[in-house]
């Protein structure tokens, strides 16, 4: 069974994790730009974007994994508007790199006015940079959105949906994935026409069992599952554990392929840089 992990922070993993993921069937990883565990200088972001677009694809390729990334100033550091202005000015040149899928993971952290302003600036950048660079189908770069943790998630998700709505027809919901949805936010994200991502992560996010519950209740359409696998006590095989839970409940190979391979392939395939196509499983004989 092949898997695409749509949200995995490989800069915080050793190379052994790439090997483990490859053995477990991962063929592609998408890695959004995130908080490094400390607040960086603008120059630090440039180095980080180079790591995402140069070093990680090479590390992944040793094990036959395609590595893609997203570029942004993460929500946790968006409180500093001066830093945001400097960093956002640098982002367009990285958006044209051959393994970059779009702008992300933008979003909110504590739902502050400054975070909201920087979120809106990123969305506008995704629109403006696409018009200048791509000239292909689609209205804007793909956008990957982080929703806040824990008690901030419900309010933050509502704020994000409202801000996206303010962009009107300039935003195509099919080109936006809103991540880290849980039981109280998944319906509002899907009803608004966006893709939804579920992150399988101890304590602060979701378990494999709850994720499969949400797939069963809300359907497999426009839904992805990811391991995040970042600085906390995390596991790059949580996506696999979720697939195992779905198998344990008797869900079909077609459902598993939809959620764990084809959905990410369809969403990312909207970028001309993503090289994998959805697969169809056919029984022979």
């Amino acid at each position: 069974m092949f898997i695409i992990d749509p949200h995995c922070h490989m800069v915080s993993r050793t190379t052994a994790d790439y090997e483990t993921m490859a053995i477990a069937g991962v063929v592609a990883i998408s890695e959004p730009a995130f908080w490094a565990g400390y607040d960086r200088s603008p120059a630090g972001f440039i180095d980080y974007y180079r790591q995402l677009t140069e070093t990680e694809p090479k590390r992944a390729a040793q094990f036959g994994i395609q590595h893609y990334s997203w570029i942004c100033l993460n929500p946790k550091e968006a409180e500093d508007l001066g830093k945001a202005r400097e960093v956002l000015a640098e982002i367009p040149k990285f958006l044209s790199r051959p393994t970059v899928l779009g702008v992300g993971e933008i979003g909110l952290n504590k739902n502050t006015p400054n975070e909201a302003k920087v979120f809106q600036q990123h969305v506008q950048l995704a629109i403006d940079a696409w018009e200048k660079q791509e000239a292909t189908a689609g209205k804007h770069h793909l956008i990957l959105i982080h929703t806040p943790h824990l008690e901030d998630k419900l309010k933050g998700t509502r704020m994000i949906l409202d801000m996206l709505k303010d962009f009107g027809s300039a935003i195509d919901p099919s080109r936006v994935l809103i991540d880290h949805v849980e039981e109280h936010t998944i319906r509002m994200v899907k009803d608004a026409g966006y893709w939804a991502g579920m992150t399988i992560y101890p304590v602060s996010k979701c378990t494999p069992q709850r994720a499969v519950d949400m797939i069963e209740v809300h359907g497999a359409e426009h839904l992805c599952v990811n391991a995040a696998a970042d600085w906390g006590v995390s596991d790059p095989l949580q996506t696999h554990r979720t697939m195992l839970e779905a198998k344990r409940r008797g869900h079909s190979l077609e459902t598993l392929m939809t959620v764990f391979y084809n959905n990410p392939a369809v969403f990312f395939g909207q970028s001309p840089r993503f090289r994998l196509k959805p697969l169809r499983v056919t029984e022979v004989g």
């Binding site: 039981e183 109280h184 519950d213």
Partner: protein
């Protein structure tokens, strides 16, 4: 669109009971631990423990969507 069910309720109960029992024990042990440690009586007034108590009442109340209701209980307005 909801997926077709692949298990019966009895099968789910058989599969998940022991795990649920273990999680209930974890909750019980955590509450015991907080109460027996120095300052336990004062800690009992903490908003987080009131949230736990409300969540447990919500579990007893029955009906669908318990996980979503607990998420909303814990959410900032």
């Amino acid at each position: 669109m909801m997926l077709e069910p692949r298990m019966t309720a009895q099968e789910a109960l058989d599969a998940y009971f022991l795990e649920t029992r273990a999680k209930l024990l974890e909750i019980a042990a955590t509450l015991d631990r907080i109460e027996r440690l120095p300052g336990g009586a004062e800690a009992s007034g903490d908003a987080r423990l009131r949230f736990v108590a409300e969540a447990l009442e919500l579990l007893k109340s029955g009906g669908p969507g318990r996980a979503e209701r607990i998420q909303r209980l814990y959410s900032m307005a």
